[in-house]
């Protein structure tokens, strides 16, 4: 379960409302998706990198948690490099693959973009506690409580599903059916897990109902979900980075509207 566990700590970032941690990178992503060029993403990445060290993660955790982004970015770039829209001089051409001036610059832009969008998203999100996020979604964003709390309770079952999966695996070996095709076994095991999870979810739903969940009463919230100036600062930082990146791009003539 360690992959799901939020990183805890005492620095300011850990106390910020999760909605702000969600909003800032979303804002940045929205802006960076308007244009595809290497300048905007580089500027954003440069500005972000100053902030990563204040994100309350520590170096080791930073690299560990962001590793998927570092792997995904060059692969995304490689795909664009080989299959992206060709223009200018072509360096390598084989069936559908075509490496050209155009695809090289698109590939660089894509790689940087995945990093510039992915890294802040991951860095901010690993410090989010699911319960705090649910509080924020219900109290700040005002999503329906039924939906938010249902999701939150279901998330807790994930750990039980992992245990169930392991037991199902052992039970199949014990029943003498673990030698046959992997794919078939996986399918039957997945179905069994599905049945078990529905039963668990039904019991959980009854337990929640027994505690008044879904009653026609105005619900209160035991935990506050404050959204104050600190949160606005984080959102503004996101907006500022986006604005600077786009301005530099437009001024330097690299603006390349994505739909264009």
């Amino acid at each position: 379960m360690s992959a799901f566990q939020p990183v805890r700590g005492i620095s300011a970032i850990h106390r910020l409302n999760p909605i702000a941690k969600l909003a800032a990178p979303l804002l940045l992503a929205g802006a960076l998706l308007l244009t595809i060029d290497w300048v905007s993403a580089s500027v954003a990445l440069a500005l972000e990198s100053v902030l990563f060290f204040r994100a309350g993660l520590g170096l080791r955790r930073f690299w560990l948690r962001t590793l998927p982004v570092w792997i995904a970015a060059p692969f995304a770039g490689l795909t664009i490099l080989l299959y992206g829209r060709a223009s200018g001089h072509s360096y390598f051409h084989w069936v559908f693959m075509n490496v050209s001036d155009g695809s090289i610059s698109l590939a660089v832009a894509t790689t940087l973009r995945v990093l510039a969008i992915g890294l802040p998203g991951v860095v901010l999100f690993v410090t989010v506690d699911p319960t705090d996020l649910a509080d924020g979604l219900a109290q700040v964003v005002r999503l329906p409580a039924r939906f938010v709390l249902g999701g939150l309770a279901a998330l807790r079952l994930v750990g039980l599903f992992l245990d169930d999966w392991r037991s199902l695996e052992l039970a199949r070996r014990a029943r003498g059916v673990a030698d046959r095709g992997r794919l078939r076994r996986f399918a039957s095991q997945a179905f069994a897990l599905f049945v078990l999870s529905i039963r668990r979810a039904t019991k959980l739903a009854t337990a929640m109902e027994a505690r008044g969940f879904g009653a026609p009463i105005q619900r209160t919230w035991a935990r506050d979900s404050p959204f104050g100036w600190r949160e606005w600062v984080l959102v503004l930082i996101g907006a500022a980075i986006a604005a600077v990146a786009l301005t530099v791009t437009i001024v330097s003539g690299h603006w390349n509207f994505i739909a264009g």
């Binding site: 319960t131 309770a153 037991s167 070996r173 029943r175 039957s188 009653a215 009463i217 035991a222």
Partner: protein
């Protein structure tokens, strides 16, 4: 905890409930009055509708699409659905009642739903956790609690809603002996503070006997079979209750009689064995044991000590963390001596495993097919498969259920089926993980008699168990693991 919350009274007038799609009424013609502050133990044979009644009182039976209602069931003169917060329900399965990730939040959940103001919620949370004796920090992760602690957490969550009626549906059935005591003491303390009305279902009478002042026995055909003071009711009805599966201390189930004595012909042994779940730390080490024909080894000790892990390791399902598990030639029968290296198809004719949760090991959509899976994997011919299946159906009283889906069986039937699936391939060694958890006394007696018969026929058994009666009825050797410290703050 303030005792100013009035206790709730219950009135049933000709009440009945039929689950949709069923012919028979789960409960019918119930006329009963429970006064505020009474403490009632609700008994009855399995299928008498105890859980249905308690769920109805909790208002969680569902609407018209879930079933049909007859007569009246009222709490302080109001329908249960309109009495939210007046009634608190604690159920059997500890894992399915934890709602949130942190202890404090979980207790606060019910209060939030009832619209209690924030400041008052946290006062109630503190009071409730204190009342159930759960002394952990509010941000303690709920997934790290033991079974007994989880049940006390559920009790605290209910208590924080300030109910006038406390409903407990077999709250200790899945717990080890320490957990049972923990929960009973917590309930006693809560009742002393709140004076709430109590209705508890439990088929182990002695757990609650000293705490209740009234026993109501539901009749399987509808209505009430007996009702009155515990000693009076148990005195007149004890024998018939025991026959219907209720654990009555004066009428314990019969212990089996072994015909043949254990031999010294060894089947399985360990040398310097250490056990661990894959990817986690070693739980126990330096285990040297051996298992001979006709022997029953009981592995006991508190939760988390590594009992189940040892069971799975002996069963050839988990690799030893160190040391080895060696099958004697008599068991290995021509293949290597390391069970973990055997193929699945080689393993299940030699060592059979009955899992704690029978649902984990069901593979087919009917009871008959479930039993045929093993013989079929052995590539037996159809007549031989049918013969084995029919024999097991008869022996374990499952004939009438041959076409039923295994998941729809009752707890006792599921347990019998899971044992039968293992017997179908006739392994010499059987590993059983908590085989008697949640079983009524009748199923218990049948199961223990069956196991004794297998031992007499030359099998040997490893049973991971908390059940002292099982140990004294069957075990020829006992291995006790010492405690690992429970999480408290």
């Amino acid at each position: 905890m303030s005792s100013s919350i009035p206790a709730a009274g219950v009135t049933a007038r000709g009440w009945g409930w039929r689950h949709s799609g069923r012919k028979a009424w789960a409960v019918s013609d119930l006329d009963v009055r429970i006064e505020p502050g009474e403490r009632v133990l609700l008994l009855g044979a399995s299928g008498a509708g105890k859980s249905t009644l308690v769920h109805a009182l909790a208002g969680v039976l569902g609407g018209e699409e879930e079933g049909e209602q007859r007569g009246e069931l009222l709490i302080d003169g109001r329908r249960p659905e309109d009495s939210r917060g007046r009634v608190g329900l604690v159920m059997q399965d500890p894992d399915s009642q934890v709602i949130l990730a942190r202890v404090g939040d979980d207790v606060a959940f019910g209060c939030e739903n009832l619209g209690v103001p924030r400041e008052e919620i946290w006062t109630r949370v503190a009071e409730s956790l204190d009342a159930v004796g759960l002394r952990v920090p509010l941000d303690h992760p709920t997934e790290q609690l033991s079974g007994g602690q989880k049940q006390r957490l559920a009790l605290a969550g209910v208590l924080a809603m300030h109910p006038g009626l406390l409903l407990l549906d077999e709250p200790t059935a899945n717990l080890d002996p320490d957990g049972v005591v923990e929960v009973r003491e917590a309930v006693a303390r809560v009742l002393d503070r709140t004076h709430a009305t109590l209705v508890v279902i439990e088929h182990r009478v002695e757990v609650w006997r000293s705490l209740v002042d009234r026993v109501i026995i539901l009749a399987p055909g509808g209505g009430v079979l007996a009702d009155g003071a515990p000693d009076a009711v148990l005195g007149t009805q004890g024998a018939s209750l025991a026959a219907s599966g209720v654990w009555v201390p004066e009428f314990p189930p019969a212990a089996p009689i072994r015909v043949t004595a254990p031999t010294s012909e060894r089947l399985l042994a360990t040398e310097g064995l250490s056990v661990a779940r894959s990817g986690s730390g070693v739980l126990q080490s330096g285990i040297d044991l051996s298992l001979a024909v006709g022997e029953a080894l009981a592995v006991t000790g508190p939760n988390g000590a590594g009992k189940s892990t040892l069971g799975l390791t002996l069963a050839g399902l988990l690799a030893p963390a160190a040391g080895r598990v060696a099958a004697a030639p008599r068991l290995a029968n021509g293949i290597g001596s390391h069970p973990i290296r055997w193929k699945s198809r080689e393993l299940f004719t030699r060592i059979g495993t009955v899992f704690q949760d029978p649902e984990h090991q069901f593979l087919a959509s009917t009871v008959r097919d479930e039993l045929a899976i093993g013989p079929r994997a052995l590539r037996l011919v159809q007549p031989e498969i049918d013969a084995r299946v029919d024999e097991l159906l008869t022996r374990l009283r499952l004939e009438t259920l041959a076409a039923a889906n295994p998941f729809t069986l009752s707890g006792g039937e599921k347990r019998r089926l899971s044992v039968a699936t293992v017997l179908a391939t006739r392994p010499r060694v059987m590993v059983l993980d908590e085989p008697t958890f949640g079983q009524d006394s009748r199923t218990w007696q049948e199961l223990v008699a069956l196991l004794a018969g297998l031992l007499d026929e030359g099998c040997s058994i490893v049973a991971v168990t908390h059940d002292a009666e099982l140990v004294s009825a069957l075990a020829t050797t006992t291995l006790r693991f010492d405690s690992r410290t429970e999480v408290t703050a």
